[in-house]
Amino acid sequence: MPEVRIQKSEVRKKLTSALIGIVVIAIATWAGDASAMLTAKANHDHITIDFFYHGSTVSVKGLSEPGTDLVVKITSPEGHQLLKKKGKVGGMLWMNVGQLKFENTPNFYEVFSTRKIEDILSTEEMDRHVIGFPALAKHVEITPVENEAEKAKWFDEFVKFKEDSRVYTSSSGNIKTSMNADGKQEYFIMTDWPYQAQPGDYLVTVYAVKDLKVVEQATAKVNVEQVGMVKSLAGMAKDMPAMYGFLSIGVALGAGFGVSMVFRKGGGAH
């Protein structure tokens, strides 16, 4: 009976005591032939982004049946992404040579496992649950590409691009397990939550794995939200663009004149 508990540690900055939290809503599910009830507890409602936000940490811990391996997958909702691709022009100059559309792709995709995914799950199971980059590669549609080899090449580049932005990662051996007094297996993982992860809802899925199959799974949601002035400014930029434009120009003009006055008084400018 695995239990998923997502705990968000707080980031405290010098100028603020703002808390950054995580929403965890546990949903019990049935998987495979195992009958189990999942429970979860949330320490915080959600991750809040204020002016001093610089990322956070997310911990996932709970109980599982002894002898099961675990996979933790954190993803954002799937959508399509348009990116510029570089290619050689005239055999020697690297230029943007067009755009590629990546469909059925999450903006955020992190997978952690107790052991190497290929050692604990069959290819079919990985594909069925879209666990790991090879499975994601089959799940994603890329256009325009001429053949599978080209698709594979651009998917690799896509992962490199996302890893560079710290929103895609896949690693193993970082989920700690131990046996408790009741003979249950406790598991725990703490991972950095990158500040590059955009506001929105994220899905955390924990898979209990045995004999190359997923035998149980549990899901929870993590909500990342802008608050305070950050939210107000982002909203104004989108909903009142003319006023936002005038404000930006006004502040820039004011700052320019203001500094000029300071220098004038100080005799720095002339």
């Binding site: 002016f51 001093f52 100059l93 230029m95 560079d164 939210k231 434009g245 700052a255």
Partner: protein, 307 residues
């Protein structure tokens, strides 16, 4: 200390934008360039999305050029009349340049044209300014004056034959109003194609084609850049929602101070020294772009938008 940027959707150490703003503001006050051709790629390097970097850069240039224009105006180095004619031409050229870019995008070779235009314009301007400044520094003053007179007489006959001649008191020159308008339009077209303010093109054009004194060139260029960037900032905020107000404030904290220091420092340098310094920076940027397009990039994908 880190601050979260609400439009760029990223967090940045505040020392980075303040420091970059200070450095670019210094160049702005010294040479009369906006510095977009330097700052935008640097912001992208520090993780700012390209569309936000370009738009926010325009916003901070408004502050830096206000500060710089004011500093130069106080010492009488802004030719407002010339600046207005250049603005009229630049505005018309900008509209034409945007249409040209649309056409190039439709033809599918916009990026190639932009990159090659960048390299050619920067390379030509940089090499010409560097050699000319070096020669001027070496030659005796009278020899330079003679050479200038010879050049002026060759081009001058044609320019003087143009209608609507007017005297620009601050610069001490006489031109047909069509000369700054056409040259402004030329820079406007290139600036629109290259996605930059065009200060590094406008400065050499004022020096070598309009024959304006270098110190008036810097102040007048900043005046012209100020209005161009006000327009660009508003359009970017209104149509693309890509101006990050917080990033702009951090940048302008540095750039406004830098522009004042630059304007003050510029007075202590001779015209030839200013030109050769600007030429060196322009050439360094050219070399950087050449490396960029010849060496295999680490990432073959990038965000849509920006330069």
């Amino acid at each position: 200390m880190y601050l979260y940027l609400p439009v760029a959707l990223t967090s940045i150490n505040i020392l980075i934008p303040v420091g970059l703003g200070l450095a670019v503001g210094l160049l702005s006050g010294l040479f009369g360039v906006g510095g977009g051709f330097l700052l935008t790629p640097l912001l992208i390097m520090f993780g700012i999305p390209s569309t936000v970097a370009a738009a926010t850069d325009s916003n901070q240039i408004v502050a830096a050029s206000t500060s710089g224009t004011y500093a130069h105006w106080k010492v009488g180095n802004v030719d407002f009349k010339m600046g207005l004619y250049l603005l009229v031409g630049g505005f018309a050229g900008g509209i034409l340049g945007v249409q040209l870019i649309k056409l190039l995008h439709a033809m599918g070779n916009a990026d190639f044209v932009i990159k090659i235009t960048y390299i050619l314009m920067l390379g030509i301007v940089g090499v010409y300014m560097f050699i000319e400044s070096l020669q001027s520094m070496r030659k005796k003053t009278n020899t330079v004056e003679e050479a200038k007179e010879e050049k002026e007489s060759a081009v001058g006959r044609f320019l003087k034959s143009l209608p609507l001649q007017t005297h620009f008191v601050k610069s001490g020159i006489t031109h047909s109003i069509f000369v700054p308008i056409v040259l402004g339009a030329f820079v406007g077209i290139l600036a629109a194609i290259m996605g930059v303010g065009g200060g590094f093109l406008m400065v050499p054009i004022m020096v070598y084609m309009l024959r304006m004194p270098m110190h008036v060139v810097v102040g007048t260029s900043l005046f012209q850049i100020l209005f161009t960037c006000i327009e660009v900032t508003f359009l970017q905020a209104y149509t693309n929602h890509s101006v990050d107000f917080i990033l702009a404030v951090l940048l302008l904290l540095g750039s406004t101070v830098g522009a004042q220091i630059g304007a003050s420092f510029g007075k202590k340098l001779k015209a030839e020294q200013l030109k050769i310094l600007l030429a060196t920076i322009v050439l360094a940027v050219t070399v950087k772009i050449v490396f960029e397009i010849t060496l295999t990039p680490s990432l073959l994908l990038s965000q849509v938008g920006g330069h």
